[in-house]
């Protein structure tokens, strides 16, 4: 256990040093993609509010929506973190060889790597919350922020195990990028990344709740920004634990089958 924790921390720090080696690229891509999302959403919703001559829609003011989009854009970044390829690239290019030789758990190592960018983005989110409190009069409180952060972290672990199942399909398929894009699009739609879920028709809204995605993005943001939520912190956290177990079992099954397919190309 102690060794795994050490490996996690070292994998995290080595990735951090890699990020610092390319800091300009990292921050530029983060700032531009987040800014683009927030600006487009602001312009769109401002027109909608003006057109309908209302100050609130489905419980959201324009300010609340801006905070929502800002938070969800960064949280989405936290979840997708290193992007596709964190495992499949190792399989395709034979880099998995070196991890198979190390007396460590490959998944723990990769999780440590995965968390690096996530935690950097999370730090930006926390700083932004202070700004929202000051400039946009957000109704934040300390407990909801702590709960929101814990949920964002458990969402990241959940999404890591979900994507690692897809990434491990690289043992069989020549290209799995499209699957990654597909799952991200589904998460964006069902997690409220495009539109807050309360704007959805009731049937779709209900259906979406059978998937893990609203609990990964939408509800953690609701808690973080101290908005009314139909689910408590403990309920969402329990749902995360359930999905983590499901995806972990799935990942182990795929790994145990796939390792026989591995040819160690690249040597």
């Amino acid at each position: 256990m102690k060794k795994n924790l050490n490996i996690f921390i070292h994998a995290f720090t080595i990735e951090l040093r890699k990020v610092f080696a390319y800091k300009l690229e990292f921050w530029a891509s983060f700032i531009f993609s987040t800014a683009a999302m927030v600006i487009v959403s602001y312009l769109l919703w401002q027109s909608i509010f003006e057109l309908n001559q209302v100050s609130q829609m489905k419980g959201y003011t324009l300010n609340a929506l801006i905070i929502y989009y800002f938070c969800i854009a960064i949280t989405h970044k936290i979840l997708v973190s290193s992007g596709m390829g964190i495992i499949s690239r190792d399989i395709y290019y034979g880099d998995l060889n070196k991890y198979l030789l190390y007396p460590v758990n490959y998944q723990i190592f990769k999780l440590g790597t995965y968390f690096t960018k996530s935690l950097l983005y999370l730090s930006v989110l926390l700083i932004s919350l202070i700004g929202f409190q000051i400039f946009l009069s957000a109704n934040l409180n300390f407990l909801s922020i702590v709960q929101g952060i814990i949920l964002i972290l458990s969402s990241t672990v959940t999404f890591f195990f979900l994507t690692s199942i897809l990434e491990l399909l690289a043992f069989w398929a020549d290209h799995i990028w499209s699957l990654g894009i597909m799952i991200r699009s589904v998460m964006a739609f069902c997690g409220g990344f495009m539109i807050p879920l309360s704007f959805f028709p009731e049937s779709i809204y209900n259906f979406i709740h059978y998937t893990p995605f609203p609990y990964l993005l939408y509800y953690p943001i609701k808690l973080l920004t101290n908005q009314e939520s139909s689910y408590s912190f403990f309920t969402i956290f329990s749902i995360h634990l359930f999905w983590i177990i499901v995806f972990y079992i799935g990942q182990q099954l795929v790994w145990n089958k796939g390792k026989y397919k591995y040819t160690g190309v690249g040597i």
């Binding site: 050490n6 490996i7 080595i14 030789l101 007396p103 460590v104 390792k259 591995y262 160690g264």
Partner: protein, 327 residues
């Protein structure tokens, strides 16, 4: 000890026929061919022994190394390394193992090697004192101490390979697989790595398997040779034995100012193949025919600077392979 019994490995490789029609067909049904990478391989390597694994591309050397290191599974047969089944990938086994891949870096490309070493220290749970001692010793010997804090991507190929060696040996492995460790290196770097490996063998006495296309690596480091062809070990024995058996060929070199076609005809009649660079000719002649060939040459041509020498190991192995093919 490494024990390999009746080891075989087959791969299913997808195939695609040419043409649009076949492209559509492959969407519905994929076709595979079974490729045999290893066939009934038997091998034993003891502690302190260094085995040279030689063969042309696709002979199965790397597949064998991958199976021995637990990267891929075997199809049939059994493998035991230090009493472990490599495929089970027990940590106790992996802690004793090292694989150095000349064509695949294990160091983190964007970071200085020192950062990777710190991570390896954690991975292999190397105590502080042992880590410092090993790092100092290895970097001193390989002369890369000053480059420890330079990002790996900015090192020369030779320096990078030396850093890879340091990374692979930091944890004092008992089994070392070297897959073309000198590939792409200049002669000086190749020599430095060979010298280092010799010293390392004397001091640490591990089991070592070396695959290389540079015969000088094999000749200098491996008293024992395993020759592979099409997934099979066709020779496993002392290097000297194969050299004595198939090294009875001499390289005959001389200078000439005659037309090359005359000379070519001369050697063709004797079933010999000559190679010519500017006015220097070289030809490989069996030791029994050497006197006769030289006599005829001197009688028919004006030649100078005649030299005979033993052929290199490449030629010996080439002779063995062609002999095996014929028989």
């Amino acid at each position: 000890m490494i024990k390999v019994n009746n080891l075989s490995k087959t791969f299913k490789v997808p195939t695609k026929q040419a043409g649009l029609k076949n492209a559509f067909k492959s969407l519905i049904k994929k076709e595979y061919i079974t490729k045999t990478a290893l066939k009934d391989v038997n091998l034993k390597v003891s502690k302190g022994e260094i085995l040279g694994l030689v063969g042309s591309n696709g002979a199965g050397k790397t597949t064998l190394v991958k199976i021995l290191s637990g990267i891929i599974s075997s199809s049939t047969g059994s493998v035991s390394v230090l009493g472990f089944d490599p495929w089970k990938r027990k940590n106790a086994y992996r802690e004793k193992l090292s694989l150095i891949m000349g064509q695949k870096a294990q160091l983190w490309w964007d970071l200085p090697a020192a950062d990777s070493y710190l991570l390896l220290k954690e991975i292999y749970q190397i105590e502080d004192q042992r880590f410092k001692k090993n790092l100092q010793k290895l970097t001193d010997y390989l002369g890369v101490k000053d480059q420890l804090n330079v990002p790996v991507r900015k090192l020369s190929l030779g320096e990078r390979m030396k850093m890879e060696l340091v990374a692979a040996l930091l944890h004092d492995p008992q089994v070392i697989f070297l897959d073309e460790p000198t590939i792409g290196l200049d002669i000086i770097s190749q020599k430095a790595i060979r010298e280092f490996l010799k010293e390392y063998m004397i001091e640490h006495n591990p089991i070592m398997i070396l695959t290389s296309h540079y015969m000088q690596d094999i000749e200098e480091l491996c008293p024992r040779l395993a020759l592979m062809r099409a997934g099979e070990i066709i020779y496993d024995g002392p290097l000297n034995e194969i050299k004595n058996k198939f090294g009875d060929v001499r390289s005959l070199k001389f200078d000439i100012d005659h037309q090359r076609s005359d000379l070519e005809d001369f050697f063709l009649k004797k079933n010999l193949k000559m190679q010519c660079t500017q006015n220097q000719v070289s030809v490989k002649v069996h030791i029994d025919k050497l006197t006769e060939v030289m006599k005829d040459l001197l009688n028919n041509f004006t030649i100078s600077n005649i030299q005979t020498s033993q052929v290199d190991i490449d030629t010996v192995i080439e002779s063995y392979l062609s002999y095996e093919k014929k028989s």
